[in-house]
Structures are given as structure tokens and as C-alpha cells.
Symmetry: C2
Subunit: 410 residues, 2 copies
């Protein structure tokens, strides 16, 4: 029971862990059709101009802009139509002085032309002649060579999580596959003499395992591969064997243990036995989630998360999620959506501790209100009934009714 002295704040606790994490990102090459949400592991620059040739952005006629200067309803210009630019090929006809070539949106501008006249601004006099009633400027209705991306320009940086449009951009430049961070295998062990799997009817004193499922889904949502190793009883040898297996099979190991002091001690001893540097943080100034263990063994992060479902989810977000992001080289935006809302009731807290409180969102008139869902952190359904969490900062004694709060949706 000698534990939780000198507990660190959540950010300090994470920094201690972070300083022991491996810095190298392990990568693999994947086809772009399988690269959605993967973290780019190379800095990409454009190998060629995009577009590679001047293209029309309108249906109309490729012309020399100078031939249209001064054209108006009263004094139209007349141009001879000398050919058509077909899609997907180099136009065979050159545009000479006083000439025009029929062109469709996306067509390649023929030699000699420097602008496209919209079909709406022309009149066909006969098959060979058009009347022009408005001038065009050079470059008008034309995509310039390199207007989308110039050759050599930076396209996407290492650490960027690939979105649908990024994959389109990669396709456009001919990147059929790219280097991305490998998905991390996250081994999950749930321990507790009282746990049975969900398809089993619990006997007296038994409950079904919740955290394996919540944690696996959180890992999946973070873009990684959960590896559920099942339920282990509160026995040193069996838990130590499961933890060694987790460390062997996973890039990251999570032990979700019960919340009694004895099972917490057991988890800490087991994690300490896994290898150097071992347990780095044991106890964080956080509610719920105080008895969190952060460790690194043989180069791999190991988490001892509290068994209460709410604590488990809070500590995953605070410690496991940033670790997975860090090991993948991910930069930029947080994966969780945040909305502003007014707090519907006072929330008490203790200074010197970060508190997380589940809230339900409720529209009232034009405003969104955050209604705290009170309930012990042992209750999974406080999470099910909630839309998100609010944080009470370390230096605050609470939050007041009516205050504007940031709700992290989950």
C-alpha cells in the first residue's frame, strides 16, 4: 500500500513516459487505395507539374486572346473554326491568327491558343465560322501548367494523416503507393478473479469483462490493431505470463486490472518484472484514473489502466492515444471532436487534480448545454448515456453553472 506518493499531473506524467518512447517510426508501403487515415511517413514533393499541359475549364473555343480584343455585340469578331481538340489526346490543329479550335472542358489547349472563349459568348455563323461578342484575356478559362501544383513543390508532409482528398491528390501526381507508419499492434489483457466473457452468464460475485471491448474499439478507432488476449485471474504467475505474452505479441501492451489496492499492487509488480526501465509513473493527479501505471519495458510502452470503465476510457485518451500517435509520427489535429456548451450544473473538484466529468449535450433554444451525467466511475452506462467529457483543470476548484465549457465528444 505504499503507492501514489508524489503523484504527477497528467501532462507531466505523459512527458515522463514520452521521454522513454522509441523515436523511430516503423514504416511500410501501401497502395493509396488502402492508405485512408494512415500516417504519411515521407515528405512528398511533386515529381511533375500538375496539370502537365494547359487545359480548358470551359466548353468553347481555343483562341488567340488578341483576336478577340475589342469584340462586342455591336462590333463582333469573326474567327474560322479549323478543328476540334478531342479529349485525351494532343490536338492536331494549331490555332493561327483569326482561327479557333473547338474544345471541351478538360481538353488540352492546342498550340498557338492562349485562352478559351466560352461557347455562351459565341454564335455559330456556319460550321466554319463563329461570331465573338466579348473579348477574352490571355489565360482566361485555362488551367495553367503547374497551376494545381508546380513540379518540386511540397505536396504533403511526413506525419500527416491521409484524408480522402489527399489520396486524390496523390493519385493525380502518380503516387500509386506511399510510405506510411505501420499500424501498431496493441495487446490487451483484462485481469480479475470476478471477470467472465460477455457470452457467459456470470455467477454470484462475477461480472462480465467490459474493458477488453472498450479498449479494443478505442485502439481500432485510433487506427491501430487491437489484440485481445482475454481474461486472466488475479494471480501473479498467470498475470506475469499474460503480460510477457502481451509484450511479445504487441508493440504496446495494456493491462486493465481491478481497482482494489491488492490488484493494483499486483499489476505494478507484474509490470515492474517485464524489463527495463520499468514503471515510470504510478499514480496521477486525476479523477477518475488516479491509479494509472505508465511503464516502458524492452522498448515498448506498457500501461496499467484502472479497471473502472470510466477511468479506463479517460486514461486511454490521456496516455495511450498520444503514445500511439507519437509512435506513428502523427502530427496535427486531435482525433476527437470538441464543441462549446454551457454547463447546466455546478461541478465540484479539488484543486491540484484534473477532473473529467461526463456530460450529455442538450440543445436549449439556440444554445447547447452540457448536462453532467453523474455516476460512479464503476458504471459503464454513465459513459453510454454521455456524449462527451469536460475537464476541470488542475488549478480549479470546480466549474460554475452557466460557464462556457469545451466538450470533447466521444
Amino acid at each position: 500500500m505504499v503507492e501514489l506518493f508524489n503523484v504527477l499531473s497528467p501532462p507531466d506524467a505523459y512527458r515522463v513516459l514520452e521521454s522513454h518512447l522509441p523515436v523511430e517510426v516503423r514504416t511500410e508501403r501501401v497502395p493509396i487505395a488502402r492508405a485512408l487515415d494512415r500516417v504519411l511517413a515521407e515528405d512528398l514533393t511533386a515529381p511533375a507539374d500538375l496539370p502537365a499541359f494547359a487545359r480548358s475549364t470551359m466548353d468553347g473555343f481555343a483562341v488567340r486572346a488578341a483576336d478577340t480584343y475589342g469584340a462586342s455585340e455591336g462590333l463582333p469578331a469573326y474567327l474560322s473554326v479549323v478543328g476540334e481538340a478531342l479529349m485525351g489526346v494532343r490536338p492536331e490543329t494549331r490555332v493561327g491568327v483569326g482561327q479557333a479550335v473547338r474544345i471541351a472542358t478538360g481538353g488540352m489547349l492546342p498550340e498557338g491558343a492562349d485562352a478559351v472563349l466560352m461557347v455562351e459568348h459565341t454564335q455559330e455563323v456556319d460550321r466554319q465560322t463563329i461570331e465573338v461578342v466579348r473579348p477574352v484575356a490571355p489565360g482566361e478559362n485555362v488551367l495553367r501548367v503547374g497551376e494545381d501544383v508546380a513540379r518540386g513543390a511540397s505536396v504533403l508532409p511526413r506525419g500527416h494523416a491521409l484524408r480522402p482528398q489527399d489520396l486524390g491528390g496523390l493519385a493525380a501526381l502518380g503516387f500509386a503507393e506511399v510510405a506510411v507508419a505501420r499500424r501498431l499492434r496493441v495487446a490487451i489483457v483484462s485481469s480479475g478473479d470476478e471477470l467472465v466473457p460477455p457470452d457467459q452468464v456470470p455467477g454470484p460475485g462475477q461480472i462480465r469483462d467490459i474493458n477488453t471491448y472498450t479498449l479494443a474499439a478505442l485502439v481500432e478507432r485510433a487506427g491501430h490493431e487491437p489484440l485481445a488476449l482475454g481474461i486472466v485471474p488475479d494471480d501473479y504467475d498467470r498475470l506475469a505470463a499474460a503480460a510477457r505474452r502481451a509484450l511479445e505479441l504487441g508493440d504496446v501492451a495494456i493491462l486493465s486490472a481491478g481497482s482494489s489496492v491488492s490488484t493494483r499492487d499486483l499489476t505494478a509488480q507484474v509490470i515492474a518484472s517485464l524489463g527495463q526501465p520499468g514503471v515510470l509513473v504510478h499514480g496521477v493527479s486525476l479523477r477518475p484514473g488516479k491509479p494509472t501505471i505508465l511503464a516502458v519495458a524492452r522498448g515498448k510502452p506498457v500501461f496499467g489502466l484502472p479497471g473502472n470503465p470510466v477511468s479506463c476510457m479517460v486514461t486511454f485518451d490521456l496516455f495511450v492515444a498520444p503514445t500511439l500517435a507519437r509512435l506513428s509520427g502523427l502530427r496535427g489535429r486531435s482525433p476527437r471532436q470538441v464543441v462549446s456548451a454551457r454547463l447546466a450544473h455546478n461541478v465540484a473538484s479539488a484543486p491540484g487534480r484534473e477532473d473529467y466529468v461526463q456530460v450529455r449535450l442538450e440543445p436549449r433554444g439556440a444554445e447547447l448545454w452540457a448536462v453532467p451525467v453523474f455516476g460512479k466511475s464503476n458504471l459503464i452506462y454513465t459513459l453510454v448515456r454521455a456524449d462527451g467529457m469536460i475537464k476541470v483543470d488542475l488549478d480549479k476548484g470546480g466549474l460554475s453553472e452557466g460557464e462556457l465549457v469545451s466538450v470533447v465528444l466521444f
Copy 2:
């Protein structure tokens, strides 16, 4: 070229499509470990109380609360420790008057006890006796039977997208598998004489296919299965054959065509040939994305989306995404994150048309600013450089610098 008369607003256009969509949601049963983000297709109620027995939320002693009334530092109560409640089994010992049973967090409350005394509020006199210096109330430090969910209570409604904590909640109640909406197969055809696949070097006048990759990723992100059928030239027979195949293989078909009038007409003719009721909407008061085609053939939605990458993404969000949600029975929150920001430049628009403008987010001091990324809708990299889109409503002539706007992130 007889098209785009009487164009509808985007919401009206979607409503027309929606009224022709099948109402039945096709379902399948999946294990909860594979149910993340799936749409629940049944209303679930709790088959049993959770927890099914009263559990301790603290390490300490199960007692009769009445035995501790009046206990204080000056006048402690003394209780005999008559046993221990082991985890995962029914405690063998009953708590009688003046008695206590050792219990850990999560342990089952023994018969006779109605509260748990925290170990911190007791002193061990000897192995058989504890001194109690504070009273507990009945129910204190105990999770009541059904406190998390009462038997028969609604657990999760049909139409809810399953989150990590929901899966935990299902596990807790013994739902090892659940009925969810089947993922929809969305067949994608890109048409254009100028298109080549990304791994090919385009010849003069040719460009690489972008939309297959962007659309497939958008479908994947919406939780469904893209089926990329490749590139088809602008030829009626070949496009019609590809469209029939898309309708056969997919639950939904998307044709992404070029933006010239002739290819748009071709796409409309092909879609009209697929079956009844056929083309419902051709042209929407929207920029970019005006030449969108919404159709239903043989009970399946068919979309003719404009070929410009920006138009393609805007119209996917406005029409395809809600259709997929609707066919899955999904209710509730939008999948896209929204943030508020101040607009950095004026944005012009035409009343009577919804405009979508890509923006980059830029923190300036404490405020977030939305900087429009101007660029033709033919440019994929305006999307790559943007963080999200803002909408200029149908009835507005534009937005002003400094105005607060909602940015839909992508």
C-alpha cells in the same frame, strides 16, 4: 444541351431523392468485437439488472450501517471481523450485529451488510477486531443492484452508431453479438477519354483518375465498402455497360463523369437507361456541383457526380453521405467535425445558390480564422491545402471579413 432548367436547392434536391429511397434497412448480426461504428438495427433493453448484485466500490469492510452510528474519534465503535469476501464468488459469511467482513473494491456484498466502511476510516485492533471512527450510511460505498442499468430499461436505440463505450455496455449486459445495418457496397465508375490510372504516365492531353480514390475513401470513411470499377471512356455503350454492372454489384452506384456538356449529357442518358424511376434531379443550385444527377433505378440510388474534384467532394457530402446514412437507418450526429472561426476575407456569392468555399484554419492569438483557399474547382490541391469548407446560404449574397462562420472539417 437542354438541361439545368428549374434547378432545385440542395435540400430540396435531396428530399426528392429521399422520397424514392427504399425504407427497409438490411441487417446482419455481428460479434461486438467487430461492431465499432456500425449502426444498431434493433432497440435493446437490459435483460437483467446491472450490476446483478450489490458490489463494494471501496476496499474496506462490509458492515451494518446501524452498527457505526455515532462512531467518532472520541467514541469509536468496535466490530468483529468474521470473514473475507473473495472476488468473483458469493461471500460465505453473513454479517451479523456487531460484525464486519473484509471486502475489496468490486467484491460482492455479503448477506446482512448494507454498507462498506473504507479501510482508511478503520483501525485494526487485532486480526479479529476493528475500531471504527466514522459512521457510514446505508448504501454508502456500495453499487446497488441495477444502479448502472435496471432490468428492462432501454439500453441503446436502433439507428445509433456504436461507440467504444457502447460496446463495453453491450458486453456488460451479455450482448455478445448485435443486429446492425449491413455495410453498403458502393460501386464507383470514373468516366473520361482523358483518364489513366495513377500508376500510368499520362500522355499528352491525359490526366490521372482522381475521383475513384477520393470517392472510395469517402465511402470507406462513411463506414461502407467502396467497389472501384475503374475507368470507362466517354462512349455510350461502354459507359452503359459499366453503369449496369455498377448497379448489379453495388447497393449504390456513383458515376463520376467529366464536366463538359457532352459528357454530362452522356451520363444523364446512361443513367436514364438503367430503369425506373430514373433521373429525379438533374442540376442543383449549388457551386461547385451544379450538374449533379440524382437518380434511383431498380430500387437503388444512382449518382452522377461532376468530375471536378472539388465538386465531387461537395456533392458526395450533400447527397451521397446522407443517402448512405438513410439506407443504414443512422440517426443522430453528423460524422463531420465543425468548428467556429472568423472569416479572413470577404467571400462573394450569388443569391439563390448555395456556395461552398474551402478554407484553411489559422490560429491568430486566441481566435481561429478561416482563410479561404481560392482556386478553381478543377484543382484537387485546393482541397489538399484546405482544412474544411464553409457554406454561403442560398439567400445570401456573400460573407464578410470578420464574420463568424462554421467550418465543416474534412
